[in-house]
Each structure stands twice: as structure tokens, then as C-alpha cells.
């Protein structure tokens, strides 16, 4: 196997290029709450107010929320969500922000956060609005 590394500094090359894959798009994702009504609509609105701790983008536009459901009888809100990567250090912080935001919704009695890893998050899950927000921040996805 030949190597791209060349010890001659006059012929220095950039280090190996890593091709970051786009990931797979899923028909039902990103979930944005479009068409939802009643308390579920209010929960989605609350989730839109929660931002990623590192970038000025709503977690909904980032594509972290996979599903929202509110049990009409008990008022239990269930949020299916993922994280951008497994080692995400903001896991607990995000969960806490989400919990506070959703608990404040009128009619919600309890919040259940279900962390899921499939389908795996990728930049394909970022919404158009999210792409715009990230571009303003200086990131192109």
C-alpha cells in the first residue's frame, strides 16, 4: 500500500482528507410538529424554544426530536429524541432544558423523555430553517 505521506518538506501535502458522510434521509424525519394541534402543538412550540448549548439553533430544527405524544387522560408528554453523537457531553443538560420547557406547557402533568439511537441522527435531519440558522452562525451543512 502506498502512502500519501511525503517526508520531503518541500513537497508537503495536506493530511488525509476525511469524507464526512451525509447520512441517510428518513421520510418521517425531521419531525417538526407540522399539523399538530392542541397540547401537542404547545409542546412542539415549547421544544422550539430549547436551543443547542453550543450553537444558536433550536433542537427541533437541529432534528433531535423524533416524536411527541401527549396522553390526553393523564397529561403525560412523551418525547422521543436523539443526540448528534454518542459521546455528547450535553446529554443531561439538554434533557433538563427540555423537561423545564415542556413541564411549563399548560395541561402537561408529566414528561417522559425517551432517548433513541435509531435511525441515527445525521445532518440530513436538519430543517431548512436550521440550515439557515447554522449558516448565519458560520456553519454550512
Amino acid at each position: 500500500m502506498s502512502s500519501e505521506f511525503d517526508p520531503d518538506p518541500t513537497e508537503a501535502q495536506y493530511c488525509a482528507h476525511t469524507d464526512y458522510s451525509e447520512g441517510t434521509a428518513h421520510e418521517e424525519l425531521p419531525a417538526t410538529g407540522e399539523g399538530s394541534v392542541g397540547i401537542e402543538r404547545d409542546v412542539w412550540d415549547a421544544l422550539y424554544t430549547v436551543e443547542d448549548p453550543e450553537m444558536p439553533i433550536s433542537i427541533v430544527d437541529l432534528g433531535l426530536i423524533y416524536a411527541v405524544g401527549v396522553e390526553p387522560e393523564t397529561g403525560e408528554a412523551r418525547i422521543d429524541m436523539t443526540l448528534t453523537y454518542t459521546g455528547c457531553p450535553a446529554r443531561n443538560m439538554l434533557r433538563d432544558d427540555i423537561r423545564s420547557a415542556v413541564e411549563a406547557v399548560e395541561g402537561v402533568e408529566d414528561v417522559l423523555i425517551n432517548l433513541v439511537w435509531s435511525p441515527a441522527w445525521s445532518t440530513a435531519m436538519v430543517t431548512e430553517q436550521g440550515r439557515e440558522d447554522l449558516r448565519d452562525f458560520g456553519l454550512s451543512v
Binding site: 502512502s3 447520512g23 454518542t86 459521546g87 446529554r91 433538563d96 414528561v111 439511537w117 435509531s118
Partner: protein, 290 residues
């Protein structure tokens, strides 16, 4: 391969099923946790700023993967102190490759170790994608996507460090030292339990087959950069023919470990013990505790 019957959720498993899952999950989680613990020793010491950041990021990924497996063990009622801070050192199941200290200042050791580990991990993940335990199968895709970059990083450094004779000689030393320990990645926790893991379809390839696949991958790649593996015959595909390698006295998987592990364990549990903790301090609650 015939699809095995899907296993039920964590609360509805039989004792035998749960025992098999636990053995596998502890092997997976402990490998990731302990190798990440070692990788962090390279922070602010790696040879270039890019490699420094890479090794830190890879360590963080491996900790993320460990957490995904430990989460599944928490389904069975364990908490973080049970799994990490208060579990006796001689109950851990990671391969001895993960626990060995790095030769001082030897980046070749890191490169060879991460190469051998990441190639093995990838093969192991492929055998878990179709696991009969849905909560395990569900998280494998995410882990594999991250592992792809680890392999790329290790392979690229493997080639670079074999460019000149002096550096290649140090790589060869690392291969000679680490190869026997890398083989323990495929050692059984217990023969009966490993057979049950396969029978239940929790894993779709057995240890021996995965070890062959791994040797078929790593040996030619090492040879292509001028390194050699003692006792390895050139592989012929689809044939179980590799010589019986000498295994180290301690295998890790069966809970036997080198002295280095007990020192490492004392180090990373030191604060927890000295502060007299009985639970893992958390700034916030964990989403999986919901």
C-alpha cells in the same frame, strides 16, 4: 443465517437470556470504557495538535459507546456506582489490550493498539447489527458510523509511521508486544455462555469466526507496510487455518487481569473513594432514569 427469534424487553428475559446478555454487554462496555481511560493519557502529549485533538475525540466517542452499553445494563437495575465506581476490579471483563499502559512516549504503541482495536470493534459491531435483542441492535448503526473515522485515523497513522526504518522498528516492537493481548478481544467470557450468546442470536457471528475475519483484515494490512506478525500464516479466505497463537496468561474476558489494570482501577476510582462517595455525583439527572 436464519433470523433468531427476537428476545423480549429487559424485564421479560429468562435468567439464561439475561446472563448471556450481561456477559456480552459487560465485555463491550468495559472494553470501551477502559481503552478510553488509557487514550486520555495522550491528551496534551500527542505528537501534533491534530493528533492530540483526534485522540481526545476518539476517547470521548469510546466513552459514549461505553455509555450506550452501560445504559442497557441499567435496564437490569444496576446503577452507575454498581457498574463502574464500586464494581470490584476483578469483576471487569475488558480485553487486556485495553488496560496495558502505553510504553512511555511511544506514539507507535497508541497507533498499533488503536488499529488492532478499531478493526476488531468494527467486525464485532457488524455481528451485532442483526442482534435478536432489539435494544442492542438499535444502537449499533450510530456506533458504527463513528467507528468509521477511528479506523481511518488508525490506518492513516499506521502507514505514516512505517515510512522509515527507525520508526518501523518501533512499530514492530509494538506489534510484537500488543498482538497477543489483542487476541484476547476474541477470548470467551465462559464457553457455555458464549455458545448461548450465539444460539440466542444476540450476536450473529461467533468469536472464532470473528477472530479469523479480524486476522484476515489486520495481518495483510500490517504486512503491506513492512510489519510482520509472528506465527501468522498468510490467510486464505474462508478457511479456518490460523495457527494457535500464544495467548497471554491473563485474558481479561474471564476476569483475569494484568497488574497494570489494578493500578489503573485504583487511579480512576481514587477521587470517588477518597471523597467517601456512595453515589456518582451528578449535576443533573440522567434521561435514562426517567
Amino acid at each position: 443465517m436464519a433470523a433468531a427469534k427476537q428476545l423480549p424487553g429487559p424485564q421479560d428475559l429468562s435468567d439464561d437470556e439475561r446472563e448471556a446478555l450481561e456477559a456480552l454487554l459487560f465485555s463491550l462496555a468495559d472494553d470501551e470504557f477502559v481503552i478510553a481511560e488509557r487514550y486520555t493519557e495522550w491528551q496534551v502529549r500527542a505528537p501534533t495538535i491534530e493528533s492530540d485533538i483526534s485522540v481526545a475525540n476518539i476517547a470521548q466517542d469510546e466513552l459514549g459507546h461505553a455509555r450506550l452499553y452501560y445504559d442497557l445494563l441499567e435496564d437490569f437495575g444496576y446503577d452507575e456506582p454498581d457498574l463502574i465506581w464500586e464494581r470490584d476490579a476483578d469483576e471487569w471483563r475488558h480485553s487486556t489490550l485495553c488496560e496495558l499502559p502505553f510504553e512511555e512516549g511511544d506514539w507507535a504503541d497508541y497507533v498499533v493498539r488503536s488499529f488492532l482495536f478499531d478493526e476488531a470493534e468494527y467486525i464485532r459491531l457488524q455481528a451485532l447489527e442483526g442482534s435478536s435483542y432489539p435494544r442492542l441492535a438499535d444502537r449499533i448503526g450510530k456506533i458504527m458510523a463513528e467507528e468509521k473515522y477511528h479506523r481511518e485515523h488508525a490506518r492513516s497513522w499506521l502507514e505514516r509511521l512505517c515510512e522509515d526504518d527507525e520508526s518501523r522498528a518501533r512499530m514492530q516492537d509494538a506489534v510484537d508486544r500488543l498482538m497477543p493481548h489483542a487476541l484476547t478481544l476474541f477470548a470467551p467470557t465462559d464457553e457455555d455462555i458464549e455458545a448461548r450468546i450465539d444460539d440466542l442470536g444476540i450476536r450473529t457471528e461467533n468469536l472464532l469466526t470473528m477472530r479469523e475475519e479480524w486476522l484476515d483484515e489486520v495481518v495483510p494490512r500490517l504486512e503491506s507496510v513492512g510489519l510482520h506478525v509472528e506465527e501468522a500464516q498468510l490467510p486464505e479466505q474462508y478457511d479456518v487455518h490460523h495457527a494457535d497463537f500464544d495467548m497471554p496468561d491473563e485474558l481479561g474476558r474471564d476476569q483475569s487481569h494484568t497488574d497494570a489494570w489494578f493500578d489503573l482501577y485504583d487511579e480512576f476510582t481514587k477521587s470517588y473513594r477518597e471523597l467517601g462517595r456512595h453515589e456518582a455525583a451528578k449535576i443533573m439527572k440522567d434521561p435514562d432514569d426517567e
